[in-house]
């Protein structure tokens, strides 16, 4: 299947592992919209994890301009970022996704990927982004997916749905991990994803 065909027909209920793997292997800079400086919020520790795995992280939150998140200065909006960004990771509810995507579509150059966090899904916004060739992931967490494909998450009894007979290095701080393990399943999604979809349709 060609990349183009894949993009047009992306099934947002079940992403092939190769789609997620390709994104996480190729993007270098990630702007996180809704990044929180509160260290018990999921956005904070996803930001921290992705930074530790070597991504160039940019926190976007208008309420915290002038402050830093783990040494990275907050910016108010996507258009305030003065350099190209590979991926926009949106930590907002489904009902707040569309304006962020619309702003992302005004960037030059365009981002390669728009990622909506676990629980967040907006099919209209996704279709707009995909129509200009941007890859979209919805209702997933990049930290969980990175941890899953590298099998780092297996420490918590989570089914990584990958296998490998290779000896991997023990992960240390700041190390990029190999995501090229053999996939067991195609990344099925289940009721929790359907529930998020139903919610976004209701709201």
């Amino acid at each position: 299947m060609s990349d183009n065909k894949k993009r047009r027909h992306m099934n947002h209920d079940a992403y092939p592992d190769n789609y997620i793997r390709g994104i996480l292997n190729s993007v270098k800079s990630i702007a996180m919209v809704g990044a929180s400086p509160v260290n018990v919020r999921p956005s904070y520790f996803a930001f921290k994890y992705l930074a530790q795995r070597g991504y160039d992280m940019i926190p976007v939150n208008p309420g915290h301009v002038g402050k830093e998140l783990l040494g990275k200065p907050f910016v108010a909006s996507l258009s305030d970022i003065s350099r190209p960004v590979d991926m926009i990771d949106i930590f907002r509810n489904s009902s707040h996704i569309l304006p962020v995507v619309e702003e992302a579509l005004t960037l030059d150059p365009l981002p390669k990927v728009i990622w909506m966090q676990l629980g967040a899904r907006d099919d209209v916004a996704a279709a707009k982004a995909e129509s200009v060739g941007i890859k979209v992931v919805m209702n997933r967490c990049p930290k969980i997916e990175y941890g899953r494909l590298s099998s780092e998450i297996s420490w918590m009894g989570v089914n990584s749905r990958t296998l490998s007979s290779k000896r991997a290095p023990a992960p240390t701080q700041g190390m990029r991990l190999s995501l090229n393990r053999m996939s067991v399943g195609g990344g099925d999604t289940a009721a929790s994803d359907r529930a998020a979809k139903n919610k976004s349709e209701q709201s």
């Binding site: 092939p16 592992d17 190769n18 793997r21 260290n39 018990v40 999921p42 904070y44 520790f45 921290k48 994890y49 676990l118 629980g119 209702n139 967490c141 969980i144 941890g147 099998s151 780092e152 998450i153 297996s154 420490w155 918590m156 009894g157 989570v158 089914n159 990584s160 749905r161 296998l163 490998s164 007979s165 290779k166 000896r167 991997a168 290095p169 023990a170 992960p171 701080q173 090229n180 393990r181 053999m182 996939s183 067991v184 399943g185 195609g186 999604t189 289940a190 009721a191 929790s192 994803d193 359907r194 529930a195």
Partner: protein, 426 residues
């Protein structure tokens, strides 16, 4: 990297395991340690706050146990799993996440006697009220639903008689009631039945039985199917509400479709404490590698022995869903086409006394209270596993006074049949 799906036997050997990063050891090492050092204070705080992947203390997680957890999750088709000290511990930990005092759960009447006892007596003191339903009458589950119902609990293949439960029909009742379906898959193992494929939301096992398979190590496991939405209606506050123990984290929001397994770990196992020894996890993992081979042989042996018993003049009846004449045969063909399991019952024309005599004369079958061993086992449920039930409940659960239960091992079936023949004949 292709997204090709490996088969069951490949997963049974590989899932969750990889060469040890430090030493290159290919077999999964036994990490026989209570605790794990932190890199620094920030790392420690991140681990305690559920913000980073890693190990803290073996009561919460252990690398050997984690391999076992991922392997069983993969075999069952779940999102994550949690290993605990026993099948009974798995049941307590699961229900602790779902039940508040005064809540109810519906359970199939045909269950392992120890579960009936745990649900009836031990859970009553927690204020968790079991309501019994008849797995042969699906409408009895519908009638048992009330606003306080929080879960439905069944066995896929039910102890002691090896009867097959219509998982899909009961999962429809659970979905309509808005509660998760919990399936104890101990007697089937995922080799024969994968309850998640038929609508289960949570699967539990006694690992002690067919998964471990060698009668040497206790263990239990909880598998999260990732299928249930815990956020609706505030019915499951352990999953949906901010947890004060973890600085206000909401588990479903943070962990998505494996939040239930995380709740069982960080709220259940951490606070109730029934941790599995890493040594037991290692023994059970080794057992699982041969699960497909053992289970098929045990099913094939069981069918041959059930056929032999059905034709024996001293035998009044045989309950084995693998026999075409059995009441559960159609369900067995649907749910367990590879075999109807290796645990079943039969009754003797000579009643209780004949049962006692049979057990005493057997020389290969071991008289003990377990199932799912490589060795063939025999027991008289009415006086042992189901002895705490009254006579009416014994009969309802398939453990009447004339009933003998067998668990068939991997020996040569001719030797097992010869042993039964001499014990029945003399």
């Amino acid at each position: 990297m292709s997204d090709r799906l490996p088969g069951f036997a490949t997963l049974a050997v590989h899932a969750g395991a990889q060469p040890d990063p430090t030493t290159g050891a290919r077999a999964t090492p036994i990490y026989q340690t209570t605790s794990f050092v932190f890199n620094d204070a920030d790392h420690a705080a991140s681990l305690f706050g559920l913000q980073a992947f890693g190990n803290i203390y073996t009561r919460i997680g252990n690398p050997t146990n984690a391999v076992l957890e991922e392997r069983v999750a993969a075999l069952e088709g779940g999102t994550a799993a949690l290993a605990v000290a026993s099948g009974h511990a798995a049941q307590v930990v699961v229900l602790q996440q779902l039940m508040q005092p005064g809540d109810e759960f519906i359970a199939a009447r045909k269950l392992y006697g120890g579960s009936i006892n745990q649900f009836t007596h031990a859970f009553k003191s927690f204020g968790w009220n079991v309501v019994w339903a008849d797995p042969d009458d699906i409408s009895s589950f519908e009638r048992a639903v009330t606003p306080r119902t929080k879960a439905i609990f069944i066995e896929s293949i039910a102890n002691p008689a090896g009867s097959i439960t219509d998982i899909e029909a009961i999962s429809t009742v659970a979905r309509k009631a808005g509660v998760p379906l919990i399936v104890d898959n101990t007697l089937a193992s995922p080799y024969l039945i994968r309850p998640i494929d038929h609508g289960a939301d949570i699967v539990v096992h006694s690992l002690t039985k067919f998964l471990g398979g060698h009668g040497n190590s206790l263990g239990g496991i909880i598998v999260d199917a990732g299928t249930f939405d815990w956020s609706t209606g505030g019915k499951y506050p352990m999953l949906s509400e901010p947890r004060p123990e973890y600085h206000g984290i909401r588990l479903q929001e943070t962990f998505g479709n494996f939040a239930f397994a995380i709740a069982c770990r960080v709220l259940g196992l951490r606070d109730l404490g029934p941790a599995l020894s890493p040594f037991n996890a290692f023994m059970i993992l080794t057992g699982i590698e041969t699960l497909p081979l053992r289970m098929q042989k045990q099913c094939d042996n069981a069918k041959a022995i059930a056929e032999f018993l059905a034709g024996h003049p001293a035998v009044a009846s045989v309950s084995y869903a693998g026999l075409p004449s059995d009441k559960y045969h159609q369900l067995a063909r649907k749910y367990a086409p590879k075999g109807a399991g290796a645990v079943f019952t039969f009754s003797l024309k000579g009643g209780y006394d004949a049962g006692v005599s049979l057990v005493s004369k057997l020389q290969l079958f071991s008289h003990l209270a377990n199932v799912g061993d490589t060795r063939s086992l025999v027991i008289h449920p009415a006086s042992t596993t189901h002895s705490q039930l009254d006579d009416a409940a014994k009969i309802k659960s398939g453990a009447g006074p004339d009933v003998v239960r067998l668990s068939i091992g991997i020996e040569d079936k001719e030797d097992l049949i010869a042993d039964l023949e001499q014990a029945l004949g003399a």
